[in-house]
């Protein structure tokens, strides 16, 4: 999150918009989004037949558009939307549409500081990446782009792209390889049967992905160089937070899942299933979601599964800033549960959003849903009031306060509360 220090951590409560009133003003009001600092709330609005605009804290952009969708704030607070005018598509940022237009545009993403904004575009049947308003130059005509990723500093943009045209029902052509990875406009030398699970190292220097070598043969390819080891199946690779030469990945061998680091299996234990490998912030610990047996899910930290298991699933684990604690959202008997270090905190909910730890790891805060209302839960217990809409709380850099943004009776509030009081 960019410039989090400079956000307003002093004002206890600001009522920034009355969204109920928007519903009277406009024909239709879509679901709202807020800026990361909580200062702005925006919804796409319909003002007439084929006429859309966006309402930000009660004010609309100057110019309406024929169609609009995918309004998202960049981490530095700029509001983007995908818009169409004269039947052509482009992106608008803070009300200003880019001059260049495209046949289609989708999947906007941002660098961590918000300075780089990317989206996929198609023009004359050719696919490309739009990076800060310019489509990258690629020597190969891209037939499709399946997904893309951006490094935290925004300098590396990588895409999984179809680099070779393929005729109808051309099985041999497919198995020769029609997919590759394109990094800042430059495709890797080789094409592959399939590419999945794109990842970029935090320093932006390495790009890794799963590749499919044959019908039932998978491996990992880094900067275009495949690992020698191949597996029955793999899931997406993850880079060490500091060391771009260390990659962990779930791999399947002889019907069991293992964790592999740089091609070698690290824990001797295999699992029925293994997903969502996560490093601690310092990179010294690894947590993964595992099913030691069919239908029994838990988290394994450094290879050691918790003793508690859950019947339905667990999601991606998350570490406390000091790396000592692990929280995860699990599902059992139809309820979502917050679990920290193997202990369920509080009761079950209809939904739980990704938890955040306080800096000392003592508190885990998250947005929860119960009976159609949203609330903030601390260590699994609901604190404070219910909201009609709520965003995940953000903790101040000094770790003393939390920003809570939510809508009550149509009014959008941004609140800052002391962590010790909630």
């Amino acid at each position: 999150m960019s410039n989090i220090e400079s956000w307003d951590w002093e004002s206890k409560e600001k009522m920034l918009a009355d969204t109920a009133e928007w519903k009277d003003r406009f024909e239709d009001v879509w679901e709202p989004y807020i800026s990361s600092d909580g200062e702005k709330i925006a919804s796409i609005i319909k003002i007439g037949e084929g006429e859309f605009n966006i309402c930000v804290n009660g004010n609309t952009w100057e110019e309406p558009f024929e169609k609009m969708w995918y309004s998202r704030f960049s981490p530095d607070g700029r509001l983007t939307a995908l818009i169409s005018k004269d039947a052509e598509w482009t992106m608008a940022v803070d009300g200003v549409a880019l001059e260049e237009t495209y046949e289609y545009i989708w999947d906007t993403k941002f660098s961590a500081d918000g300075k780089t904004i990317v989206a996929i575009v198609k023009q004359d049947g050719v696919y490309g990446m739009l990076v800060n308003g310019k489509v990258w130059e690629c020597p190969v005509k891209l037939e499709s782009i399946a997904s893309h990723a951006i490094s935290p500093d925004g300098n590396t943009v990588a895409a999984i792209a179809q680099t070779v045209p393929l005729g109808q029902a051309d099985l041999d052509g497919f198995l020769k390889g029609t997919w590759s990875v394109v990094v800042n406009g430059k495709p890797w030398n080789d094409n592959f049967v399939g590419i999945y699970g794109l990842a970029i190292s935090n320093d932006g220097k390495k790009v890794a992905a799963e590749y499919r070598a044959a019908i039932c043969e998978y491996g990992i390819v880094v900067n275009g160089n495949p690992w020698i080891e191949k597996f029955g199946c793999t899931w997406e690779p993850v880079f060490h937070p500091d060391k771009s030469d260390e990659i962990i990945v779930p791999v399947r061998q002889a019907g069991q899942w293992f964790l592999a680091k740089n091609g070698r299996i690290v824990w001797d234990k295999g699992f029925f299933s293994l997903l969502y490998q996560t490093y601690s912030p310092d990179g010294n610990n690894i947590a993964v979601a595992v099913a030691p047996q069919f239908g029994k899910w838990t988290v394994a930290v450094n290879g050691q599964p918790w003793s508690v298991t859950f019947g339905e699933c667990v999601q991606k684990p998350c570490f406390s800033p000091d790396g000592r604690k692990v929280a995860v959202i699990a599902k059992d008997s139809g309820k979502w549960l917050l679990v920290v270090d193997g202990a369920v905190l509080g009761e079950g909910y209809d939904n739980i959003w990704q938890p955040v730890f306080s800096p000392d790891g003592d508190k885990v805060i998250c947005k929860v849903e119960k009976n159609g209302k949203y609330a903030v839960a601390v260590n699994g217990e609901i604190r404070g009031k219910n909201y009609e809409a709520l965003w995940n709380p953000v903790i101040s850099p000094d770790g003393t306060r939390a920003m809570i943004c939510g809508v009550e009776s149509g009014r959008y509030y941004r609140k800052v509360v002391s962590l010790s009081n909630i």
Binding site: D107, A146, S147, L171, F174, R212, F272, F294, Q315, N351
Partner: protein, 447 residues
Amino acid sequence: MKPTIVKREPVVDEALDQCEARLTEEQIEKVVNEVIDKETGGRLWTYVNTCIHCGLCAEACHWFLSNDRDVSYAPVTKVKDTIWVLLEKKGKVDGAFIKRCSEIAHTECNLCRRCGMYCPFGIDIAYMLLVVRRICAKLGMVPLYLQDTVHSHAATMNQMWVKPDEWIDTLQWQEEEGQGFVPSARLPLEKEGADIMYSVIGPEPKFLAQLLGNITVIMKVAGLDWTMPATAGWDNSNMAMYSGDFEIMARVERLHHETAQRLKVKRIVMGECGHAFRGAEYDGPTWMGWMKPPIPIVHAISFYYDLIKSGKIKIAKKAKGPITVQDPCNVVRNGGLGDKLRYIMNAVCEDFVDVTPNNRYNYCCNAGGGVINVGPPWKKKRVQGNRIKAEQFKRTGAHTIVTPCHNCHSGIEDIVDFYKLGMHVKFFSDILIEAMEIPEHLKPKEE
């Protein structure tokens, strides 16, 4: 064991022919034993050892019944000629044998599981034939068009090579179509926290886009909070499950279920498709290690049943004349939705005429199990292999057949055409959209 007498018109399927030429006996032996030792368990051996070769299962199979009781089409023959031999010879067979295995498993069995109901021991022939398909898939012995569909799943995560922009563009277009009926209708994309994620199968955006317009209207009239993903993960179908490529099957299912989790919905409602339900409800979660889908999945039949029963959708004018139905095996025989299907049919039709046999005992459409996906080379055999379905429909005297499953829909259209039944084939939502009441305040304003 006596060899089976097999009479078939020759079919040219390039993929099978080329694979036969390429395969070595070492490769075959290795893969057969790998699959049998590492991927199957007691279940397979129990089935093989329990069978008393009584042949009662033959009476269940539409292939056998439609081909003048040709024994080579009997369920037990299909396993006798494939997995039994592979087990007995410990995989020491040649490419021609594996090719015949694929022909039997991929083109002459729909995995519909009707035979299992007639077997005194409940032997699941379909499971054994899926093991055969798995072996074939690992050897690359998959009919051309089915393999191409699986490649589409692998490359695009949908069945029809639909590119990401084509998907979103189609949804936005169908939203406008829906607004023609109900101006305030919306097809909300990527709405996190909606109650429902609606997912469909690849052919909907490709060939049957009006179904997306239909659902836009239905959701609005029913007042539901729903969304559709603007990313891959929208396609709930899965031909990789049927070719035997379980890794791609799992990748597709994982993405579908994780997309629902990412969107934080309470349930996935899926369109009218049988095999997609099987993949999303059972096969996919099972491979992933999930006891059941992390976000519950609701088939269109249950969904419409709830909407009609609760009065969220009211019926204004029932469809006229005799209308009959197909019971998709994967949601009726194997999913128990037959009674709900009859409830909704009676709710929207003035004169619903049931088929005999019906419900769990209904015959398969002969398109499912990936059999329609093996494509044009095999079409003639497929339609000839379901004469009894044509006769069954003819007996109803209906003018329209409702098929709450895409494969049933296409397969039955072929049967209607081939046997000159002169009937229409429709999805349930096509009938519902005509029959339902659109409340006054939602109707387009007269100019």
